[in-house]
Symmetry: D2
Subunit: 341 residues, 4 copies
């Protein structure tokens, strides 16, 4: 089998992670082109992993005849355009989430990749986390029987800068979107209705930016199973990502991972380490698994496990949650998907 | 100090527990009278703990001039009447929850005990559980800082008989009522709004009886903190009662208790014991603490920690949850309390 | 069945525990006589649980024609005499551990009770602890397969007064004796050889009293399985009693029990409660189970599960450990049992 | 700073791990030469990480003028010769453990590297495991106060082939040697005496090869603290590597790591994942940390943390343990070191 040749658009944090994973751990693929509007960043990354083609123009990656597939790590507002151009160049696409912040754009992207017949994978990295995969496996194996309740706790160690919130679409679209995808992934079913309550409890600046920082979201899945997500922009004890699934056959839950397993018994209690504090630490193996799967999907012509519809639905649920919060009522996802008002 | 003399109405399961606790562990009090419509049950219990006065008429307990205080363990629909008559006889009352299933009756009871100037304690035993008390203590000590989210998981090992559901008022009034009280206890704040979703996932007979068996309930507390309760009438792994509180200062959670601490490492995994399966096992110490506190409250003329207002509010929240479920919208507790429709 | 009538010699801490357990929880038995050289203590206890006969002379208990069985909670140096007199009066005996501190005396006691044909149970309460019983059960069920290693950690929250050490026989005889019995109980086999190392690490006063306060003891069981005990007179974090069994089929271990299950996630770590700090708290249920079993053994003429031979062997192992420490060599238990030097 | 140029002798499992770690994660170093008597293995590894010089003769690595430091991953019986030749060529050495199986050879190696003035690091990878490092840190920070007892559990998932045992020097020298080093590392003190008991419980073939497969070893540290190691060649539940340290200030223990954190609550118990089963999985990060430290030690001229004396002492303790087992008596390490007997 010939080596799969990969182009990367965006040499920021996540672009580096994917590029280095391929360099280190995916012998059947090679990154051959990198572009970033910050040319220095692109050059630096290219030098580190021996990538021949570097540019500040993403089109140099897409149009590079050597490139078989493109990993899109550009800012969110460029995802759609980059995906469409790549697909139209007949190349496979891995796109970081979200595809876009509005449904018409996402639908346009999905239509394009389908029309072009290329692979299209969306970067919901948490699906590749060993803990969450284990839960999924146990659900698939029917260990929890019929699904009754999915519970997701998802708290960040600290809020992003207020200016980020302004462009991110808000908490539901930049943070909870992962949890919406996780809910669908674990349940193996679509979310049909959302009810969201929330408030500004962490930082008034977030409220001024028009967003909330704490939320509790009730989900109803197709078929009637229920879901709960609770979010906070700031847990003083670090990154908190837990999941519990309850059903007729039992319950499975996964906890955070910590840097070590120590328990210290001192005069005033038992102490142990906090969970890994940074998403890059917590999910570093998940990012690697994800990009390895993409290389396999393309290289061995396998079906994509997280595709355009997943990208669409997570945003649709987020938009339904925003509307639910604004209008203080349960909102059907279909209402948002179908553009009803 | 003279011995506190107690009368007990109802010699069923919970009547026995309270009577025996006093006999064994409350040297400053003594049960001197027991009544139950099932006279044999009353006699049996009286014999076991050496109680002189036994009757099938609860009035014999209330009117017994030796009795200082009455513990009411009769069926729910008699709680209000028994409490009112006891109070009007000038005697202190401990009443099992709920006081009644409708708010006007509860208000009438509360007005009566207040007018009569007797102590009135309501049997929310879980407040006396070592785990939940520890959480409360940490909240009071400000270890979790400002409260953001209270999460309660409450699942029974199996549903009650369908005929019970018919008279119990349904899941929110016979089961979730404990969780509503717990939410108020932990938060130290009233619940102002409820949103409930649920379904029949355990047993269609429950649905036929007009009730649900699985629910997810969102709470909004006075001041804006949020709450989540998830309930099931049947967890195949037993009685599941957990609590988590998250705030600006940290998070505290408590787990179930198990009959032993063993971990078995075998060829196919690590195995440990299921949680205590029966509420009497899980809460046996809590029941004892509760009734000891009642004896102290009366004997030492201390303030009651769980009183008529708590009995009222838990039912009000339950009724709001019922309405929320029926009308599929968030419902203010005030709407129910004030009898609005 | 007629009620079993019990006499109690010794109204100190453990005498109280047994007496109250019977009063509260053993309906088929009744304490009818109590004696203690401290008459006030005896009277106080008798009053609390309604015992008719009280004395400062233990013979009043033994000779009381109403008494069927005697529970001996006197000081260690009186155990043998009290047991012998009780047996010779034709009454059943429950004796707190150790029977005596020297083997000839214990053998004499064992011979006497055997000759008299009475039941004789020795108070190794830890065998009745839910955790250790679970381990025993899993060993019996062959879940750990062939036994390879038994590991016991046993640490006290603080050392006893130096004067106690002078009369107790030292750490191996007053503290480790429980662990020696536990080792035999769990393995279901005798200990054939001991090697002990230790030192004075907690308090020099203990060293001056001729004892050690910290030890590691290697055991070899009949058939070749191995054992390890590690002891300390002082763990600053409280009472530490753990057990692990490893074999061809797997491993089972049990942990301490804590007053609650809370985990607090704060800015500087995860914190939870220390283990129960006091042996009376940790083993309160074990004491109750033990004395209930004794009442059944006598009342229903069942075989004794912890008898004179167990009392003998635990002391023999302790004496072998003392000799091993003194002579710095592995010592066969037979060497001690057979009085070799 | 110029790039550190590394040669690797031995392209087997551990040679690959070190080579790939440098290629991926140590930008300041580069592997420039690889040798293995199995030339194909050397070529394969060289190709994967782009190493220019490949040979079946280890001298090609040592004599390569480009090479600054050599990592010795050859079979145990070649460690000493390769280390001596490398040192005499004036190059720094990282040598896998053990340096040799006899003390005179190890002393000769240590003398040589000292005389040649090169860095010499020995591959006790477990010192670099996050869990054990955390314990060490807490000991150094005096969290456990004065050290009283160090407890190490170390069990393999399965025994090596009988032919390996014949050349490995036996369990104490090929397996427990890690635990002996860990004991010294954690205590920060030398072991002065050893007492070992053991037997053949896993596989009679091991007994025929003259070795044991199960052992309990008591250690006495300089100054009097005590240690316990328990070993088995076969735990059916996988690789079991735990550590506990107890002292005047408290206790710290670390557990195994598992592939995920799931707890499944089913009808018959709570189930979770077994520990990582393979030493390469458990210690993969430790191997990487170790070799990174070596690169830093050489590149930045820092002191070696695990050196020749550590290599010597671990073998000395192992030999003392062998003698203790054979002669069934406590054996001073000095007795072995000084060649008495």
């Amino acid at each position: 089998m010939s080596t799969l040749k990969i182009g990367v658009i965006g040499a920021g944090r996540i672009g580096k992670v994917h590029t280095e994973t391929i360099a280190r751990s995916v012998p059947e693929a090679r990154v051959v082109a990198i572009a970033d509007v910050n040319l220095a960043a692109a050059k630096d990354l290219a030098a580190r992993v021996n990538v021949p083609s570097v540019s500040d123009d993403y089109r140099k990656v897409i149009q590079n005849p050597d490139v078989d597939a493109v990993i899109i790590c550009s800012p969110t507002d460029a995802h759609a355009q980059h995906t469409i151009e790549t697909a139209e160049a007949g190349k496979h696409v891995f796109c970081e989430k979200p595809i876009a912040l509005d449904l018409p754009t996402i639908k346009r992207v999905n239509d394009t990749v389908e029309r072009c017949g290329v692979k299209f994978m969306v970067g919901f990295n948490r699906r590749f986390d060993a803990n969450f995969k284990k839960v999924k496996q146990m659900v698939v194996e029917r260990k929890v029987g019929d699904l009754h309740v999915v519970k997701i706790t998802s708290r960040d160690p600290g809020p992003p800068p207020a200016e980020y919130i302004a462009v991110s679409g808000g908490m539901f679209l930049d943070m909870t979107i992962h949890d919406f995808d996780m809910a669908r992934f674990i349940a193996g079913k679509d979310v049909v209705e959302v009810f969201a309550v929330g408030g500004v409890m962490v930082d008034p600046a977030i409220g001024k930016a028009g967003d909330i920082d704490t939320a509790v979201i009730t989900l109803v899945f197709e078929g009637g199973a229920l879901g709960i997500i609770d979010n906070s922009r700031k847990a003083v004890y670090g990154y908190d990502q837990r999941l519990e699934v309850f059903g007729s056959g039992g319950m499975v839950k996964v906890d955070n991972t910590a840097p070590d397993t120590h328990d210290y018994y001192g005069p005033d209690g038992v102490h142990s380490s906090l969970p890994l504090n940074f998403f890059m630490d917590r999910y570093i193996d998940a990012y690697a698994s994800e990009i390895k799967e993409f290389c396999q999907v393309v290289g061995e012509n396998k079906p994509v496990s997280v595709g355009g519809r997943d990208g669409l639905m997570s945003v649709a649920i987020a938009l339904a949650a925003k509307r639910s919060l604004a209008e203080h009522r349960p909102v059907k996802v279909a209402e948002v998907l179908e553009g009803k008002k």
